[in-house]
């Protein structure tokens, strides 16, 4: 390995560690939003509760879309590693569509709740619900934008070392959102309905 390549590898390793640290920092944000939600469950102010508002079918479908999108992202990563440009872009496109489906379902759920007067300004409980789930949704939307940008980079630049390295970090981000969602499903939707 030449001096230049060694430096390049070290740079990417540092970026990966930095990105991990960012994710852990972001995980603290989610942890505090989860804690806030947990203490505000009973702050419904006489308004609707989770039991009245949540739809397990919708949440289950969202879960399926997001978890499958993680798998398809995995295929995109594998294609990128073997230098298969078309495969990488194709799998990223599938991931993107699944992500869009997830965001669509979430927006529809939010809009439905707001329509029946159960918006985030109704009670402390709903403020906490919309903020926790919405923060995750904003992350997914950012991830979708990032997928578009990375697809453009793969088309324009090819699977160069910096591009593959960025794709790796996008993968970390995307899988991290899965974990956050599993938390939301188990702490928000399931207990709210059972």
């Amino acid at each position: 390995m030449s001096e230049h390549e060694r430096e390049e590898t070290e740079t990417q390793e540092q970026r990966n560690l930095g990105f991990w640290l960012y994710l852990m920092s972001d995980a603290v944000i989610f942890a505090l939003l989860f804690a806030t939600y947990a203490i505000m469950i009973r702050g419904t102010d006489g308004g609707p509760t989770g039991k009245q508002l949540f739809d397990l079918n919708n949440a289950a479908l969202e879960t399926v879309l997001l978890l499958v999108s993680s798998t398809t992202f995995g295929f995109a990563s594998l294609s990128a590693r073997t230098g298969n440009r078309g495969g990488a872009i194709g799998w990223l496109a599938v991931t993107f569509l699944l992500g869009v489906g997830f965001v669509f379902l979430e927006v529809r759920e939010f809009a439905g709740m707001i329509a029946v007067g159960a918006g985030p300004d109704r009670s402390g409980f709903l403020s906490a619900f919309f903020t926790l789930v919405g923060t995750h949704g904003v992350h997914v939307t950012m991830g979708l934008l990032w997928i578009l940008i990375m697809s453009a980079q793969i088309v324009l630049k090819g699977l160069t070392a910096p591009v593959v390295s960025r794709l790796y970090r996008l993968g970390l981000f995307w899988h991290f959102l899965d974990i956050a969602w599993v938390g939301i499903f188990s702490i928000v939707y399931l207990p709210g309905l059972l």
Partner: protein, 657 residues
């Protein structure tokens, strides 16, 4: 079109407020005029504002901190003057204005004086001490700087357009909620803190990766300098606790802007959750600030005692222990919340335990000085002044850690005296020691010792005069943040405190004079060797100021004090057989542009100018994408160029080489 912004926002409601605005605008115009007169705009832009060099970024952070120190201190002086005369509604400030002043004083001193000062010193020195050419992410480093500057600018702009928060530096709801505080003041506070807080989180990540991944070959963790150890622990805390203030301020903003009910009185809100979220960040923040200062004291005490640091390993472990414990004590900021006695007891005991590793450090410094050959450089004076004063503050802290005792003095000036007694010696004295110790490294000439000593004595005496009376009057029951009072027995104490503030002012004036005198006499106090104090760490092995690449050949480390070892073995200042080309990150305007748009974004949210929020957010997004798609953000300094710079260095070294 302009949201809530109208001509009414100008501070014409009182002569003092208008005066403050005039000084702010006048100061900015004066700086602009001087820059134009010196024809320095281009130099400033190409060599500084767009720089991604960690040393320049560090210097810019410290300049920001010193400017904000002046602003925050003027606030302090105004408060002390008000309270000295405020018996029976005396004084010169209306309550609304007084409340803005104590709120901005705290906000500025923590977020825009102490934080940038610390980040600046770490930026300037830590990469040199670990023997690398830059931090891990140079452009992100510049982004952190400009986000911090954007937050500071929002606080300054609140003097001219609208009002600042009246809810104190902690912004407790429900008072800071929209119901009780419909103006823009709290929004200024929220967005200044949020924007700069994101910058601090990213600085923490940057420093952690730099220390963990970019140390010179041979530098194990247990060979790092004490300052690098404390920088690492402070960075861990920055990464993992700044999210808490982001959440606290973010939720408060949602309450205010989107009508949510996180912290409201009614509708299922829970205001005590805010206190928890705020202090989950707020208590570790104290250690984010104080640990690097401990690191500086450790370097300074060892260097000026002409000894190795006593008990290096215990100091490293104590640092890590303090960092860990600091995240377990936040509830002691609100013992009176109404948690059960057992909860209070747990947090009280955890608080007292922190005194143990801190005590270990005090003995490290004392025993380093013991039988040392002490040189009373101003940095050393700050360190000794710190040890004595900090121990007093620590003892009042242990007193406050006992919940029943805390109930008695809760929210009194006793508490104000306590935390100033920790932060002024523990943080500010440390940073000023670092400023006077590393100044020659940054600029190539030493600061005047006489004026440095004068500044130290004024600060120390002024501190005791200003805060010891506050302990006493607090024990007599005076609440903090009083705009007026009717107990005549308090007034003598407050007059002494005001006198103390004036003595501190003399200390600040001495610092300004010191800077002026030192620049004037820079040829006489030039540091040609790069090692003016016979230091042991790697930063002293390069020239002062260091070349853009820091080290022509990356050092190999086999000792805790590698440069002292090299000097002893005669391997220091040795010319390498040949030089290799060095890659250096290119300057970029992206970071300063991003900071500018962040400022506009914050300003637009504060005034509800929604179209501008969208425009600036898109502009920020495009800036980030454009910069991060760039695969060639660096240039190569040829071996010949490196040789030319190094030849000049060896010519200056003369006989030493």
């Amino acid at each position: 079109m302009f949201g809530k912004l109208t001509i009414e926002a100008l501070p014409l409601y009182s002569a003092i407020a208008a005066g403050g605005a005039a000084v702010t605008v006048g100061g900015a115009l004066l700086v602009a005029l001087v820059l134009t007169w010196l024809k320095a705009w281009k130099y400033l832009w190409t060599d500084w504002l767009t720089s991604v060099d960690h040393k320049r970024i560090g210097i810019m952070y410290i300049v920001l901190a010193l400017i904000m120190l002046l602003r925050g201190f003027i606030d302090a002086l105004m408060m002390r003057a008000q309270q000295a005369m405020a018996l029976n509604a005396g004084g010169y400030l209306p309550p609304e204005h007084f409340d803005q002043i104590f709120s901005s004083h705290g906000t500025i001193m923590i977020f825009f004086m102490a934080m940038p000062f610390m980040t600046g010193l770490i930026n300037l020195i830590m990469p040199l001490q670990v023997g690398t050419r830059d931090v891990a992410f140079p452009w992100l480093n510049a982004v952190s700087l400009w986000l911090t500057a954007a937050g500071a600018a929002l606080v300054m702009v609140s003097l001219v357009i609208g009002k600042f928060s009246t809810a104190g530096w902690t912004g407790y709801p429900p008072y800071s909620g929209i119901e009780h505080n419909p103006g823009v003041g709290v929004d200024y506070w929220i967005w200044a803190v949020l924007i700069s807080g994101i910058g601090s989180t990213m600085s923490g990540i940057n420093f952690m990766v730099t220390i963990l991944k970019r140390r010179a070959p041979g530098m194990t963790l247990m060979r790092m300098t004490p300052f690098t150890w404390t920088a690492l622990c402070a960075s861990v805390l920055m990464v993992f606790t700044f999210p808490a203030i982001t959440v606290a301020c973010g939720l408060l903003a949602l309450d205010r802007v989107a009508g949510m009910h996180f912290f409201t009185n009614a509708h299922g809100g829970n205001m005590m959750n805010y206190a928890n979220l705020f202090w989950i960040w707020g208590h570790p923040e104290v250690y984010i600030l104080v640990l690097p200062a401990f690191g500086i004291f450790s370097e300074v005490v060892a260097t000026f005692s002409r000894k190795r640091l006593f008990g290096y390993e215990s100091l490293a472990y104590a640092t890590a222990a303090i960092a860990f414990l600091s995240a377990t004590v936040w509830l002691h900021h609100f013992f009176t919340m109404g948690a059960s006695a057992n909860v209070n007891a747990v947090f009280g005991i955890a608080t007292m335990i922190i005194a143990v590793p801190t005590g270990v450090k005090v003995f490290n410094w004392l025993l380093t000085m013991y039988r040392g050959r002490i040189d009373f450089h101003p940095s050393m004076m700050w360190s000794i002044g710190f040890i004595v004063t900090f121990v007093i503050g620590g003892m009042t802290g242990v007193l406050l850690a006992i919940p029943p005792a805390d109930f008695l003095v809760h929210n009194t000036t006793f508490l104000v005296a306590h935390f100033h007694n920790m932060i002024i010696p523990g943080v500010l004295f440390g940073y000023l020691a670092g400023y006077m110790y590393w100044f020659p490294k940054a600029f190539g000439f030493e600061l005047n010792r006489g004026w440095g000593a004068a500044s130290f004595w004024c600060w120390l005496i002024g501190f005791y005069l200003a805060f010891m009376p506050l302990y006493l009057v607090g024990l007599k029951g005076m609440p903090r943040r009083m705009e007026t009072y009717n107990d005549p027995t308090w007034q003598p104490y407050l007059m002494v405190a005001a006198l103390g503030a004036v003595v501190v002012l003399c200390g600040i004036v001495s610092m300004v004079v010191q800077l002026y005198v030192s620049i004037r006499d820079r040829k006489l106090a030039a540091d040609r060797t790069g090692d003016p104090f016979d230091g042991g760490a790697l930063e002293w092995s390069t020239s002062s100021p260091p070349p853009p690449y820091n080290f022509a050949v990356l050092p190999t480390v086999g000792d805790r004090e590698p440069f002292r070892e090299a000097k002893k073995n005669g391997t220091a200042y040795r010319r390498p057989a040949s030089y290799t080309p060095i890659r250096i990150p290119s300057n970029t305007p992206a970071a300063v542009i991003l900071g500018g748009f962040a400022f506009v974004l914050g300003f637009a949210v504060i005034w509800h100018i929604w179209w501008l929020v969208v425009v600036s957010a898109i502009a920020m997004f495009i800036t980030v994408i454009a910069r991060s798609s760039d695969d060639h953000a660096e240039f190569t300094l040829s071996a010949g160029e490196v040789k030319r710079i190094e030849d000049e260095r060896f010519r200056q070294l003369g006989g030493r080489a």
